[in-house]
Structure formats: structure tokens, C-alpha cells
Amino acid sequence: MKRWKFRLSGSGGQGLITAGIILGEAAVIEGKEVVQSQSYGPEARGGASKAEVIIDDKKINYPKVVIPEVLLAMSQEAADKYGTEIEDNGLIIIDSSMVNNFKNDKAKIVNIPITKLAKEEIGKTFVANIIAISALVNLTKVVSFDSLKQAVLNRIPKGTEDINLKALEIGWKWAQSN
């Protein structure tokens, strides 16, 4: 397996660190090596924030992502700030309900109205991160759907299983059909 380097970006409160942990835990379920880190500090409060995940079969030493091959951007500010840092032929997933303006010729761009889907299909914007991570896993196949589902169920608060599983389905299907 090659080394996967993910950067999940957006604004504070969108659940990107949780999304990063879930992605990491899904890879742990599959026996892979994982390192997850995040940016703290003023930039995490309201401004652009990010979580990073590295997944590999081999031991991971340097824990930070220099240039990701997969970027998720869930706010305009995050898209502006991190949108140029991507490996050639990398993948950028844009929350098109939050980002109006984005262009990058180096990478494949997939637009998904993530927050809008969460609001309209489920009625809760806080599951947007689950929709996003599900789409990301579908597009990359970095882990299986079953592992992702297990990781989501391990991490979420009791009583939210149904809406989170629905969010997983929505993200998965959207990525598959678009």
C-alpha cells in the first residue's frame, strides 16, 4: 500500500478533527499504521482549521503532512488557505454549499454540497463531517466501508447512530453517483 496523506480543512466547529480521528480509527481497525495531528491556536478559533491523517502499512516517522494528496475543504477560507497545497493529480473534495470560488488545475476536484445535504436530508448540519468522510473514503478506497462504519459507531455519542449511519449512506452514494 502507498502512503496516504490527508488534510481535512474547514472552520472550527465543523467536526474536522473528529472526522480525522474516525478516518484514523478505521485504518487502525484494518491493522494499518496511523498518525493524526491537527492545528491548534488562534487559527483554530473561527478561522481556518485543519486535521491531518497519514495512513501507511509501514511505520510513520515524521508526523505532519507537508503536501497532501487528498484535501477536503469545507469553508471558503480553508479552500483559499490550503487549496494550492496538493500533490499533482491529487484529489480535492469541496463542500460546494460552503465554497463558492475555487480553482486548481493540478488536482481532480469533486464538488459535493456536503453541508446542504446534511441540512436537507437529515436536518442536522453537525453530521456534515460524516457525509464528507464517507465520500472521501468512497473516492479513495483507503479503507473499506465496513471499517469506516465501525469507526463511526465507536466514536459517536449514543442515540445518534441512526442519523450518522444515514449520513454515511448519503456521502457514500453521492460520491458513487457523481
Binding site: 480521528i21 484514523g24 496511523v34 495531528s37 491548534y40 491556536g41 510513520i60 505532519k64
Partner: protein, 378 residues
Amino acid sequence: MTSKKARLIQGNRACAEGAMAAGVRFFAGYPITPSTEIAEIMSEELPKLGGKFIQMEDEIASMACIIGASLTGKKVLTASSGPGISLKQEAIGYACMTEIPCVIVNVQRLGPSTGGPTSSAQGDIMQARWGTHGDHPIIALCPSSVYECFTLTVTAVNFAEKYRTPVYVLMDEIIGHMREKVILPNIDEIKIVNRKRPTCPSNEYKPYQIDETLIPAMADFGTGYKWHVTGLFHDETGFPSGKPKVIEEQFKRLMTKFDKYSDEILSWEETEAEDAEILLVAYGSTARSALDAVNILRSEGIKVGLFRPITIWPFPEKRLKTLAEKANKIIVPEMNYGQLILEVERICKDKASVGGLFKFNSLPITPEEIMFKIREVL
């Protein structure tokens, strides 16, 4: 608490779990970024184990509080970062002088002063050695993975108990905050060391009477053994003494009490170091970048190696000296203005040329930067 299962956890959590696994049942502290999670976890978990967590009014009181708790026989821990560690220094000196077992976790952030609360740094290396005034013995351990945050905290508690000394676990923000896949040992696989307690009748107890171990037996407060505890120089009864002979003897024993145990205390890790012509000396999170640099350059046929001190204080001097005989050049990358390099220069200056790679702008040193530096000196 721990089961043999792969988990994705933070360094700070691994540290807290290591402390509890080693038998720590008392924590006093004042939360500060980037160490806060340790206090949070201890506040949740210690009461479940019958332990105590106290949030004190400040860091000075926190340090004094764990010393007091240790005197009652508890295994104790506090955790902080730069500004808090500075405040603790007077009481750390008191613990060195009175030989009270305690563990201080320092998750290093950028300093001096308030500095950069969320920025990683390795600027407290010399503070760990000389932060409190006067010559004094100290042990400092430096983890470079989440797994080591667990195991080295266990070791720190064991060393504190066995050698009756404050022990630092010197982490950094990157190691404290990152999550990494770990499979932690089961409780029954962990070696636990308890302090030596007096076996004589209480009326014959002399708190600083030593035997061939050089480490006096320590009685728990409240068990009938009388003990005068003072930061003044003292004789074997524990009462102050100003006699030059007494002072000199106590000083010498304090300063040499680890020497006898250096095989047990000193630890380090070597990667391709044996035949290295260029040797990196790196620790904590920076050692991870150094390891990448070594692996990449070795595949290009460049003879680079890594010496990673795990015990930073006392420093594994003898081994580094041997490796320096072979290496032409030594490079010390560290996230500060150049601290451990001073020790490396002292040890290796007659054997090899020593250069540094220092970064102090809140960003980690990357493998690329280390490789660039190596190519520069090739």
C-alpha cells in the same frame, strides 16, 4: 484500563495511562496548554482508582502538593508546560534536596515566558537540568512516540521511587498532541518499583541513614515514624547541619547517587549509528524527522546514522563518545537556539566536528531540512 488492542490515542493520554499503570494515585496541577489533556484525564480516571486529583491555585502550589502527597506514601505526578515549569522550580529543588519521589511532565511549548502556547519547542532541555538553583541530581526522559509516552512515564515513576528523586518526562507539543496507533502493554506486563521503606522500629529510624544502595529508606507520614524534612543541608537524622563535613558528604552522595545505577538509568536508541560517518543526535519529535532522513540517505549510500538519547539527563555520554570516534561529523537538530548541542560538543569536541540545525519559529524540523543540512556538510 489497558487491553491488548490497537488504539489511536494522543501522547498526553498515553502519558496519563502510563502514570496510572505505574501506580500513580495522586495528581495536583494547574492546566496549561499543551499539557491540559493529562490533567483532564487524571481528573476523570484517578477517582475511579481510589486516587485523588486536585486542581491547585497555581503551579507552585501544585508542585508543593505532590511533594506532600509523596511524603504520605503515594506515587505522585504533576504535568505542565514552560511557564508552569518555571514556577515549579523552587519546589523541585526542595524535592531534590529532601529526596522525595515525584514525576514532573513537561509538554514543551515555545518560550520564554508565555511564548507560543500551541507551538512545539524543545527549549527546556537545559532548564530540566539546571532549572532550580544549586548543584543537584536530576533524571529527565524524552519520549519520541505515543507508545514511549506510556512506557517512559512508567519508567519515570519507577526511577522516582527507586532513586528518591524528581524525574522529568520531557515531552513536546507534537508528541503530546499527536495521535498514533499503539498497542499498549497489559498491566501484568509492566514492571513496578516501589520505594524502600524502613524495616527498623520507629524509634530507631534515621531518615537519611544510608546503606550500600546510597538510597535511604523512606517512611510514610502517619505511620509512627518521625521525620524532620528540611531543605537545609541535614545529617542522617534529617535535622539541619551547618558542619562543612556533613554538607560535603551529603552533597557528594546526592551528586553521585545515580552513578552506581547508570546501566539501568541510561537508555538510548541507535539507527545505523555503528558505521555512520555523519551522526545525527536528535531526541523527542525531532528524532522522527531524523529517522526519515537517515532512511532516505542510507538508500542513496550516504553513511548517516542516528543516536537518540532517551535519557537526556544524565546524558548517555560513554556511548556517544564511542560513536564519535568513528563519525567525522555530528549534527544536532533541535527546536531551540542550541541547547543539547552544548552537551554533545562537550562530549565529542576532540573526536568529531559538531554542528547544529536549530529551528525556533514554532514549526517542526522536517526530514528535508535535515537532509539539506547533511548534504551541505558532506
